[in-house]
Symmetry: C2
Subunit: 448 residues, 2 copies
């Protein structure tokens, strides 16, 4: 069954995964993708490593270029084309060609909105100065890289201690800058509990980051239009480069004034099939909601893995299949220099808010057998429902070999396992890989 | 409830875990442990790394020494005491003090047999020559280390390409020996399927191991009582050090002629509570059977993790608790130089024998995002039941960061997940850790 012309807004992970999936199922269908930037299907998560010089060419971050989609998959990808209006009644979108500024209408039978998310840029004095960057599209990463190449900044200020803030702190330290990081919260990584986040903060400070928590940004000062310092409620810090890591918002301006409803945190409201509230219109990736497996409600999580899975599910439903998005656990992973960080499920903070009674175990163990070379510290926190013992969340902070262990916890949570079930698992052990009891099991043993 | 005097035969992982667990639950109970060697609670799996010089002192392999058990836990551990007879009628064991060769009888209310396993030493001509070693107790590892120190062997032959064979090949290459490995099977690592084992064999050959498969050992030649060469059905290989890695057998001579029945592969028959066929007598660790979660029958697996869990379960049941051994999946992990190797569940070979219809996917992916420094090859094989899609087995061969991913498969198999369930998992992704789709999921996607 060919449902007619498909228009996709946004040519990154979700949009292009969906378009590719539809193409494989429906070789003859007309598929048009409008992308306002120059790039398609890129690894936004790789930008900090590109900026640090660990990835030699920004092209390496691109999984597939527009011309490849056009030539190999017969997908009509039009870069530098921005959709500026959706006419849900008339089943058409208004598109602006950013090269010649001309606009035109394009009709659709089905529409997929995959517009992504953008960094929050609060309305502080001086925020439009040169040298202040958020990271979202590949182009923003290239812009930061080029700015550093051209201006050789020495003093960097990062605002926000989340994933982007932490990864950029590593990148800019690698480039021998003096790095200062501010966060208004009393901890970095607010998706983790404070005890675990404190381990990260200590290590960041030991590694040379000037880390100031509980500090509110007030304004940016500039000279000749270029940033010179960052003022908080407690200090004034010189800066010739500023990175904004204050989170992202879903790109949903297009749906304002349409019957396409907004949901959690302003993301586009979707059901598990990724249908919006308007028949024939779908949404996927960072701009749309996701089902949370543990909270058992819609949530909003902007992450590459989720965007890819959304794209797959939307692509199946847009062609001949029928699939529900399986849901997220809230899994995330990152690192700062040698320190690996991961989390999944609900934190203590989230559980307190939800009113679920829980118990927690936090243990310190080793990444390998204690006597094996390279064995190092790993801290694992496990949280389980008090009544049932069911594991609801996990957090890991530790040295190489630590963070990917979160996948065991993700799988256990998804399966509804208790802490005892985790103790019982026949996990792998050999001295180069683990103590006899894997640290995840050591934490679980404290809960039974 | 204190069930009276507990005697434990064997002072390594299973025996000492059980004794410690009983002690915590029953502070006043009399607990006697007889250990025929000099060491207790040691990490036998660490021996190859000790021999290679990566672990500076054999004491580092010892988790807890006999005097610590005596002083801190009031457990009467008697090293260099060998139990030579079990009198099940009289509820007593005959013990030989190996220092003065005197024997005595010791009574028990309950008995735990944790005698471990020993390397197979087939009755080949010359096998008793000096310079030929199996690895089992910590002392055997120390013996190999000391022999190398004293004799500086240059040409090593390893017989058997299983875990011990592979780990010792790495260790002896590290010591700059010429290393030859023979196996009578057409592949190394017979617990894996041949396609995966071939990846290992290729890498071993590339790393300088002279690897000969399909070769049968015929005899050892020696001069003045010391080994000089190994003769197979195809060649004669000079050797001044030989390591036997031909597998192990459970140490069950003690139960011969008693009503304590033997089970799978001659291991002591136990139920899930680790009770033998004689009331009041328990068995745990490498000498006893284990329940196999997927085969749903008793099996025999000699591994440190299993021994530790056996010890815990036996300890609980011997004191005031009630616990069943949760079962094994057949998980194992090792490495050869940079190549990591792991497996769990059933192999194609095992499934063919069982008559279960299955489907298989083998994929090649990357350990990290392709553009991230250090990204390298990983091969994942997943096997699922044809009718239900339930995952039944997994095998991984790849470079650093590969093998511990088996734990995700272990957890999924234990939970009864299908390949689609694995695709649906919210596994962790960031460029330093994984491609967007974890390689385990990439394999699972091929099965749905």
């Amino acid at each position: 069954m060919n449902k007619g012309k498909l228009v996709v807004i946004g040519g990154d992970a979700a949009g292009m995964s969906a378009a590719s999936k539809v193409r494989r199922a429906q070789p003859d269908r007309e598929i048009v993708v409008f992308e306002r930037g120059k790039h398609t299907s890129y690894a936004a998560c790789g930008m900090p490593y590109y900026i640090a010089g660990q990835v030699s060419d920004s092209d390496q971050l691109i999984a597939r270029k527009p011309e490849v989609f056009r030539e190999k998959q017969n997908i009509d990808v039009r870069i530098l084309h921005e959709v500026i209006k959706i006419d849900t009644e008339g089943r058409r979108v208004e598109v602006k060609n950013l090269e010649d500024n001309r606009t035109f209408w394009e009709s659709y039978e089905e529409l997929l909105i995959a517009t992504g998310a953008s960094p929050i840029r609060p309305d502080f004095e001086g925020i439009e100065s040169d040298g202040i960057f958020g990271l979202s599209t590949l182009q923003t990463g290239i812009d930061v890289f080029d700015y550093i190449e051209k201006n050789s900044p020495k003093r960097a200020v990062i605002v926000g201690g989340g994933y982007i803030g932490i990864e950029m702190a590593e990148a800019l330290l690698d480039l021998d800058m003096k790095v200062t990081l501010f966060d208004m919260a009393p901890q970095v990584m607010t998706t983790m509990d404070k005890d675990m986040a404190d381990l990260i903060a200590d290590y960041m400070r030991d590694s040379g980051v000037d880390l100031y928590l509980n500090e509110k940004l007030e304004k940016f000062e500039s000279k000749n239009g270029t940033v010179t310092s960052v003022k908080t409620d407690k200090r004034n810090e010189d800066a010739d480069l500023v990175i904004l890591g204050m989170g992202v918002n879903p790109n949903t301006a297009l749906t304002d004034g349409t019957p396409i409803e907004a949901g959690v945190k302003g993301a586009i409201k979707v059901n598990k099939k990724l249908q919006t509230t308007v028949p024939g219109i779908w949404a996927a990736g960072d701009c749309s909601e996701s089902y949370h497996l543990i909270k058992k409600e819609q949530t909003w999580i902007a992450l590459g893995t989720v965007a890819n899975k959304h794209g797959l599910v939307a692509g199946i439903n847009l062609s001949d299949g029928d699939m529900e998005f399986p849901g997220v656990c809230g899994t995330a992973i990152t690192k700062f220099k040698e320190l690996e960080i991961s989390r999944t499920g609900l934190s203590e903070k989230e559980l307190e808010e939800s009113g679920i009674k829980f118990k927690t175990a936090t243990i310190e163990s080793r990444t390998r057998s204690g006597y094996y070379p390279g064995s190092d510290k790993i801290t694992v926190k496990l949280i389980a429902e008090e009544s049932s013992g069911k594991v609801l969340g996990g957090q890991i902070v530790g040295f190489p070999g630590s963070a990917k262990r979160i996948d065991t916890i993700v799988t256990a949570i998804t399966a509804g396992m208790t802490a005892q079930n985790i103790v019982d698992l026949d996990l792998s052990y050999a001295p180069p890989f683990s103590p006899v009891w894997d640290p995840v099991q050591t934490a679980a043993r404290r809960l039974v």
